[in-house]
Amino acid sequence: MRTEISTETLYSDFVKKVEDISEQTLSSCYQCGKCSAGCPMSFAMDLLPNQIIRLAQLGLEDDIAKANTIWICASCITCSVRCPKGIDLARVMEALRLITSRKNIDNVQIPQIPKETIAQLPQVAMVGGFRKLTA
């Protein structure tokens, strides 16, 4: 994949927005990959968590949006407790999700969940999932 880096994306509002919502400093990441190594959902991700952070550092919003990573994250916080640089990656993932969901875009379509499934799911799954994956 060809990735174009420009000062336009590098100094874009996007980087600042992610840092503001997550209260994390993206430039702290030195790409050791510890987050991706321990991520329990990485097997299903297009891009690994450390790659998402790299794209976020560079302001490449569109490349992040094309990947399923932030919607596969289960907010288990394993990455955050293991990051040697102390970055709370789970918060960065949340900020990236919020940038989409604040545009009133849902990642999970509630009416499409079968009724039988809804009847079986515990509230903790539904409230948790809807809070993380819908606007």
Binding site: A44, T78, V108, Q120, Q123, G128, R131
Partner: protein, 293 residues
């Protein structure tokens, strides 16, 4: 001794087997779990955003309810409720500006300043009662039952709310040991089960669950014990599908730790509400002569 108790939504419905067994067991151990009045949903998942104080109102409102009863400590059994309440409490304690915003927004409520201590039931068992005292009260030791404690995420992460070592917890294993069970340590005991992804990506959750279950099975576990109703749903309910897909897998019972506690304390198995467990654990308990009728 009376202790303020926050049940949360799932313990009143799908996880009634966790609540009933916990309340009955704690009574035997001399602690009355006093449900706080007018509690509301805690929000389930803690909001990670720095600019969303609105999501802290629900958990803080519950802590105000606790404060109103004159209590300074609240216990949760659901791991998610524990995590959300404890994190919200820490947030206001460590952020005077956010505390001010939240208090101002909820002007109809008394001010809250982070004075309520949020604990999980496992901590009460360890710190207020102690493994030795529990062991002395055991009527039916869980002899020969090989149980693998599974912690999941929300009891241990992030570090500042963890009830035990983040990577090598022993608290649930210590309880099971006090109850006379053979404790099985397995490498996936703190690995995420996929959590709320079950609503949008059930197949991925199913893969996670198989990784966790097969890890426990390789260590020869008869059953898994846990505390979280979402882990319980994923680990227990999802097995039906896995059994259909894998001819070599016959299912492994999943218990709430409170069910095993009630059983070992000699309580009527009725309080364990085993009929709510998806994989029926009763044949296993009968084979170990642990089910009294």
């Amino acid at each position: 001794m009376k202790l303020s108790y926050y049940p949360g939504c799932t313990l009143k419905t799908k996880a009634k087997n966790a609540e009933d067994s916990a309340i009955a067991s704690m009574e035997v151990l001399g602690i009355e779990l006093a449900e706080i009045p007018r509690w509301n949903c805690c929000g389930t998942v803690y909001s990670f955003a720095g600019d969303e104080e609105v999501h802290q109102l629900a958990p803080i409102r519950n802590l105000i309810r606790v404060q109103e009863t004159g209590s300074h400590k609240v216990v949760a059994i659901c791991s998610f409720c524990f995590n959300t309440l404890k994190r919200a409490n820490l947030l206001v304690k460590n952020n005077p500006a956010k505390m001010y915003t939240i208090n101002t927004f909820m002007e109809e409520e008394p001010d809250y300043e982070g004075e309520v201590e949020v604990v999980h039931l496992l901590e009460v068992l360890r710190d207020d009662i102690g493994w030795e005292s529990i062991s002395e009260k055991v009527q039916l030791p869980l002899k020969g039952l090989k149980v693998a404690p599974y912690y999941g995420c929300t009891l241990l992460r992030p570090q500042d709310i963890a009830i035990d070592d983040v990577e090598r917890p022993t608290i649930m294993g210590d309880l099971l040991k006090a109850l006379g069970a053979d404790v099985i340590d397995f490498p996936y005991n703190t690995e995420c089960c996929g959590s709320y992804q079950v609503i949008s990506n059930p197949d991925y959750v199913s893969q996670r669950v198989w990784d966790i279950l097969s890890s426990a099975l390789r260590k020869k576990a008869d059953a898994i014990a846990l505390s979280c109703p979402l882990c319980d749903f994923n680990l227990d309910h999802t097995q039906k599908e896995i059994i259909q897909k894998r001819s070599d897998f016959k299912g492994i019972p999943i218990f709430y730790f409170t069910q095993l506690l009630a059983l070992a304390l000699g309580l009527d198995p009725e309080v364990c509400r085993f009929e709510l467990n998806h994989i029926d654990p009763r044949p296993l308990l009968e084979s170990k002569e642990l089910l009294r009728h």
